[in-house]
């Protein structure tokens, strides 16, 4: 089969990224390494899309699993990582040493996405988390607080996860990702499995920053250098959601609706917490941190629906939010570099750089859920799936949250077009404006013609459900 060889090629290319970065450490060719890494990522993305087109499904070396969900997420993350790579090229103090950590982190992320065993998952999450700490630290002492907070939190999450895996191994020593599920017939015999499930949830929700495990988010997002924040919000968090879906979704289906109330509660609490606290923020970066917490709540709406449609819509919204937040942070960090940080300081951005004002407006409108933008389609699918699963009240609470969020997004938007007028327009660096425009195009394109992406996400969602057919499913 060609597809299996392509799988090997993808894994080899992923491995090439940290190896190449190490080599780059000696060669010191900044530009060359940027182009090389971007090419590697593009190739990975295109190959994964190719596999997705054929809906290839196979395992490699027992620890990697290729199926539409992992193929889609690999492609999406690889594309988005190029944007992060470009931003780091522009903003990081020492791009070469930064890229070493970045390359390791990329490996971790893609490992999580393709994981077929709990050990791969654990290693992947660790490999993603630890280098991120150093990516923050590489930008000087003033970021040390954010780095330590992130370090402590990811260490905590990883150890919880390791403990959960150890508990599951009692029931099933193979540690395949469905181990928890395969163990579940024994669930009634002891407390260990329920405990393991709770620990899994705690570990992964901490990484995904759902309420009540979200307290680290604002400080880290605000304290970290902008491009790292964009990566944390846009990609790391989504990787945690991917892990959550991989580990939990089959279990949710297996246990029927026993899990549903918990996820509904988490989702509602996360949305309300993020949105209500964001209302009173003045620092835009911090506001976006809280906003991204609330957006995690929306993603949980689809997971709570516990249906194929719900899962597909969660995947769609994950992708949509990653695009929007990376775009928004790209503008925010550019303004941050011009010492424009609070909502009041945002006044008159329109006259300073129309592209910045226009694109931030579009990203924020998209996060509110205004058509014809990608965020609207995402929210539409999420709330549809909730209504379709007889959770009308959850959809209702979701839309109430959308209204609340209008206030703080609109404050920023209003501020940008009024007040102060700058005499001189300031251009963005070319590479930054390319990132912004790309995200803008994606936001519009999949908002107006959502068909292809919806098709891909529904393939992915269905593949997760059919991957582990639940024994005696409800």
């Amino acid at each position: 089969m060609y597809s299996i060889s392509i799988g090997y090629v993808i894994i080899a290319l992923i491995a090439l990224i940290p190896i190449g970065a190490t080599a780059g450490l000696f060669a010191k060719r900044k530009k060359a390494w940027f182009y090389t890494s971007a090419t590697l990522l593009v190739t990975i993305a295109l190959l994964s899309l190719f596999l997705l087109a054929y809906q290839a499904s196979f395992t490699l070396l027992q620890i990697f699993r290729f199926y539409p969900f992992s193929e889609l997420m690999t492609a999406v993350f690889a594309f988005l990582l190029i944007a992060i790579d470009a931003l780091s090229y522009e903003y990081s103090a020492d791009f070469i040493s930064f890229s070493l950590f970045f390359g390791l982190s990329i490996t971790g992320m893609l490992l999580v996405v393709m994981a077929n065993s709990l050990i791969t998952l654990l290693i992947g999450l660790e490999l993603m988390g630890v280098p991120t700490v150093f990516m923050i630290l590489a930008h000087g002492r003033r970021h040390i607080e954010a780095a330590i907070k992130l370090f402590v939190l990811s260490a905590l999450a990883i150890s919880l996860l390791a403990f959960a895996i150890a508990l599951v191994s009692v029931y099933n020593p193979t540690l395949s990702i469905s181990a928890a599920l395969e163990a579940s017939p024994l669930a009634s015999t002891g407390v260990l499995l329920p405990l393991a499930i709770v620990l899994f949830a705690a570990a992964l929700l901490t990484e995904a920053a759902a309420f009540p495990f979200n307290l680290w988010v604002p400080d880290v997002y605000e304290g970290a250098p902008g491009h790292v924040t964009a990566m944390l919000a846009g990609i790391n968090k989504k990787v945690a959601f991917v892990a959550l879906i991989e580990v939990f979704f089959s279990m949710i289906l297996y246990f029927g609706y026993a899990f549903q109330p918990i996820f509904v509660l988490l989702s509602v609490a996360t949305m309300f917490f993020g949105n209500l606290v964001a209302l009173v923020q003045t620092n835009v970066k911090r506001m976006m941190a809280y906003s991204s917490i609330s957006q995690a709540g929306y993603i949980l709406v689809g997971i709570s629906a516990s249906t194929a449609a719900g899962l597909s819509s969660s995947i769609f919204y994950m992708i949509a939010h990653a695009v929007m937040i990376i775009g928004a942070f790209t503008v925010i960090i550019w303004l941050d570099g011009k010492n424009i940080r609070t909502v009041n300081e945002y006044s008159g951005v329109w006259s300073k750089n129309p592209l910045a004002a226009f694109s931030l407006t579009v990203f924020m409108l998209s996060m509110i859920g205004v058509p014809p933008l990608i965020g609207f389609i995402g929210k539409f699918l999420l709330f549809s799936s909730a209504v379709g699963a007889n959770l009308l009240y959850l959809a209702f609470l979701g839309i109430i949250n959308s209204v609340i969020s209008v206030y703080y997004y609109a404050r920023v938007i209003l501020s940008m077009y009024a007040g102060r007028r700058y005499e001189r327009k300031v251009r963005m660096a070319d590479i930054v404006s390319v990132v912004v425009i790309t995200m803008l195009v994606v936001t519009f394109a999949f908002g107006i013609f959502p068909g292809p992406l919806m098709h891909a996400t529904s393939l992915a969602g269905n593949s997760v459900i059919s991957a582990w057919p639940a024994p005696g499913a409800p």
């Binding site: 709330f383 959809a395 959308s402 609109a410 209003l414 919806m454 098709h455």
Partner: protein, 466 residues
């Protein structure tokens, strides 16, 4: 003629490109031409094809959602009104000559929204065009309004977003209620009887909240006076004439789609009545001319609501005709008032004394629009009110006619106020106003349409087979 309605809807994008390329003096002309061309195509379709033309294109295959556009007598009347108002607004509305390119682009976006919304044969599209309209109106209000527009724009956005999320939730709920899940309006209307009454009521309430907020019906109207007052002349014209019809048209669809709506019709009518009286009384305590007119709008919307909830053909088409009448009238009112405000530099009615001696066109247009709003014969308002109250009488008996008193109150106040201010010759006005050609054209177009559709209602009502 497959594709003609699609052309009507998306033609403004071509003119948007034109408006952005040509110099700013001509950009508003491009917007006006766009509306005129769309109107011509629409009339051509009606005359040579059918008033019930439908078009369908595949859009999202996986759900499935098709891109369905359908013309109907109601949407035809509203579209004609929208295009006339948009032409008048683009040519005459911008006294201040500020940000003409931005204004032209927003007018063109609003044209897309209005065409798409009134033509949409699919609730999904209805929602998309609704939000396009809301967002472009928001920017209209926010970037071109008076200096105190900030809070008003924020209020507008929050209320309208509140409405639009309710709309979204209602649409999703109705989608899952239909036997074969569908957004198609014709399909839903045909199969709504099989939806359980309880869920029909849920859908009705969700959607009604959205539509009533958009119309500015008591108690969901608090955004409206501020928004209409602080917007620019063009902004007030399009907001009051076109955006408020989105909700009114929605209520019309809602009663047409859901049979269980009949049970709630009397409550909706009651809200309409309360709204009319509330606005008529509150109006009298205000001295700000634009604010008084926003209350007029709330009152008219209340009357329209009574017509729609009478649920008979006469009342319903009276309400549609009233939407047309209200659109033309309120646009003329805001246009005249805008020009007075521009000349006098204040919105206080008491300082407008002597208007008639220097700005005849504005003064007499204002007078005529007030006549039309009070339902004087030979104006559109008369036909509309007549039909509405015939419909309301047959539906609700004598109680249905009580809201006429609100119009009487409004008329009494307005005639009194106009006599004291605009028409007063006691005080010689110092301000000198020259009516430009563009403005003269705007007045002539709106006055002409009000009289034309007032004298020859069969031009439009003849399309309806009663």
């Amino acid at each position: 003629m497959q594709g003609a309605l699609m052309l009507v809807t998306f033609l403004p994008f071509v003119f948007l490109a034109v408006a952005l390329i040509v110099d700013k003096e001509r950009s508003l002309a491009a917007a006006a031409i766009s509306s005129a061309v769309s109107m011509a195509i629409l009339i051509y379709i009606t005359v040579f094809s059918s008033i019930n033309a439908t078009e369908s294109f595949s859009y999202i295959s996986i759900i499935p959602i098709s891109f369905t556009l359908r013309l109907s007598p109601a949407s035809f009347m509203l579209l004609i009104m929208s295009y006339i108002v948009l032409i008048a607004a683009s040519i005459a509305g911008n006294h201040e000559r500020q940000s003409q390119k931005l204004a032209a682009s927003l007018i063109l976006l609003l044209q897309v929204a209005a065409s798409g919304l009134f033509l949409s044969g699919n609730l999904f599209l209805y929602f998309i065009f609704w939000d396009v309209g809301v967002v472009s109106s928001f920017f209209f209000l926010y970037s071109l309004g008076s200096p105190q527009r900030g809070p008003a724009a924020m209020k507008f956005l929050i209320y309208e977003m509140f409405a639009s999320v309710f709309l979204l939730l209602g649409i999703i709920t109705i989608y899952f209620g239909t036997p074969v899940h569908s957004f198609n309006i014709a399909y839903i209307a045909a199969h709504a009887a099989s939806i359980p009454v309880a869920s029909q009521i849920t859908v009705f309430v969700l959607l009604a909240v959205a539509f009533l907020t958009n119309m500015g019906i008591f108690p969901l109207h608090f955004w409206l006076p501020d928004a209409y007052t602080e917007a620019s002349t063009q902004g007030s014209m399009v907001l009051s004439a076109i955006l408020s019809k989105f909700g009114a048209f929605g209520i019309f669809l809602l009663f047409a789609i859901l049979p269980a709506g009949a049970e709630l019709a009397k409550y909706i009518a009651l809200l309409g009545g309360i709204s009319a009286f509330y606005a008529a009384f509150l109006m009298m305590s205000h001295k700000d001319i634009k604010r008084v007119m926003s209350y007029t709008s709330i009152m008219e919307m209340g009357i329209i609501l009574i017509g729609l909830s009478s649920l008979n053909v006469i009342g319903t088409y009276g309400a549609i005709y009233a939407m047309l009448a209200h659109g033309l009238t309120i646009a003329l009112m805001f246009l005249a008032a805008g020009s007075m405000v521009h000349v006098f530099g204040t919105r206080d009615i008491r300082t407008l004394a002597g208007m008639v001696s220097n700005a005849k066109a504005a003064a007499y247009s204002f007078l005529l629009s007030t006549f039309a709003a009070t339902g004087l014969p030979l104006t559109t308002g008369f036909i509309a009110d007549l039909l509405i109250f015939i419909g309301a009488y047959s539906a609700f008996g004598i109680l249905g006619v009580v809201p006429l008193l609100a119009i009487v109150l409004f008329g009494a106040y307005m005639y009194f106020a106009i006599e004291k201010s605009v028409l007063s010759t006691k005080k010689e006005s110092v301000a000198v106003a020259r009516t430009s050609n563009g403005q003269a054209f705007g007045y002539a177009l709106l006055v002409g349409s009000i009289l034309l559709f007032g004298m020859f209602p069969f031009l439009l009502l003849g399309l309806v087979k009663i």
